[in-house]
Subunit: 350 residues, 2 copies
Amino acid sequence: MFENKNTTPLSEIGEFGLIDHLTKNFPVIHPSTLKGVGDDAAVLNLNEGQSVVTTDLLIEGVHFDLSYVPLKHLGYKSVMVNLSDVYAMNAHPTQITVSLAVSNRFPLEALEELYSGIALACKNYKVDLVGGDTSSSSTGLIISITAVGQAEEKKITYRSGAKANDLLVVSGDLGGAYMGLQVLEREKEVFKVSPNNQPDLALYSYCVERQLKPEARKDIIELLEEVEIVPNAMIDISDGLSSEVFHLSKASGVGCDIYEEKLPADPQTSSTAEEFKINSSTALLNGGEDYELLMAIKTEDYDKIKGHPLLTPIGHFTDQKEVCNLITGLRQSIPLQAQGWKNFNKDESA
Amino acid sequence: MFENKNTTPLSEIGEFGLIDHLTKNFPVIHPSTLKGVGDDAAVLNLNEGQSVVTTDLLIEGVHFDLSYVPLKHLGYKSVMVNLSDVYAMNAHPTQITVSLAVSNRFPLEALEELYSGIALACKNYKVDLVGGDTSSSSTGLIISITAVGQAEEKKITYRSGAKANDLLVVSGDLGGAYMGLQVLEREKEVFKVSPNNQPDLALYSYCVERQLKPEARKDIIELLEEVEIVPNAMIDISDGLSSEVFHLSKASGVGCDIYEEKLPADPQTSSTAEEFKINSSTALLNGGEDYELLMAIKTEDYDKIKGHPLLTPIGHFTDQKEVCNLITGLRQSIPLQAQGWKNFNKDESA
């Protein structure tokens, strides 16, 4: 993607120069960041409340495809994936570290693009970049991000606190990122056949943006604070709703009934699913990467969120241990299938 | 390396089953670990003192070669690399996260081996495994580890605190890991020509162990506590002594004189260097991966460490900003060359 420009090969820069160059414009915002990039480790003052730590590894060809993912978006999304895990604990992210491994096919300018997305994410979500390194890779691009966050002890939400009769509530809408992926994969195939054909993605802008530039739900954590709700349990939806429902149910030792007709979808998600002849409910239940939050809310808290456009009750927990059902529009109860993104399936990992 | 055994393909297990399986025998030791593996993030109580966070990414074919590195050793060493960074801050490691990406060529048993090394490291160094995940990789093995540690505020040592006249002190001995690597690379070439020739590594056991199973210098941090020394500055030696001396000097705005004859070497390192026709000082100055600690000690603290077998003064800092000299056995002063491991050199990254 940088083939035709004047570019700077990484071999001209060297390891230490590179990380200095890429991180020089990152300001330190948080008072808890005592020392960021530039020593053997970052030094943090995490004396208030409790701390959460989460880490994710993103591999080219497995988690992203650079033939249609712009590097700036990739940098942004890589941070979102981690911040989403912090929000899922009902905590506020404060610091991240970013380690990269890159092959020589990437010039300096490509990494600058990637870091501009990381910088934008740090700015928008008020987190400090405090460490990481760069090294070479024999093949593609590998991004490893660790996020640190903080929360008051009484606010931290685990997966394991859901109780029978709690409402199952989801933020935003579902399936968009999955349909965006279908659109991008189709355009990639079209491009292979006719490289001069400019794709018109305007019809799919919402879904494509959900896939390429998701936002972690900082606003939902702030909303919960505002209405004084601490969920009994929470998880973020990275592998698809069904899969996450099973995680919550298993960790909490409860079951769950979900109402198909309640699943929130953007109209574009539904129309795109129709165009692709994909059952809309399948996209909503099993499409991954929406990075919405899924939570167990006490019934007495229902009035605080009733009718809120960002929070949709889609079912409730039951005392049927680990039994998860989908109640269809015709009031049939069928066992929910978790078709979350499974690694190591032979057809998925090249 | 597992070709001839009854093995379990990863595709039979799936992502969630795999991480559960690999981490099930990891006990939680630290009271600061409130929640380890199994939620969106680990939850830690880091209310005492300050926290340090460091992360490293290890890539097959770049940082390790599985043709001679046993997986158990690799797991152990991957943890050491990170703990060494924590000790270099004069802090105590408390938790780690481990993320893996693996191609299908690895059976379950290979990952169990890797994790047995990680488990041994956690046990020996009393750290808790609190998170991470596994995913597929299109080619080799990728290991990403993040370590968290804690220290009293007044004990944390940065790279930037060295002052003119401070002694430059190094722990243990140098160059062994580098010579071990030379031995292993030679045996690999021999094996290619005569696969039935069993290598006799007994003559090189010290160097090979320094390369394959390094230990992070927990004992040195404990020793410094015991003799009540807080170094003015500290760094761990991962890229070679010269390179780290430059880092300390640059960060502290001072210079440094190092005495060639003071550099500590194990006799086996010297004899192996001689056999390989490598200048012994070159191995000591530029060989990486020793994971020793290099520190700036106030002259008034000298008596506390004088003659200690684990700590060797090898020079002193000067007010010549960023001017680092090697004083040879013939009392010549020559500019030190930092030949640390540079990534992105075309001949190093395939």
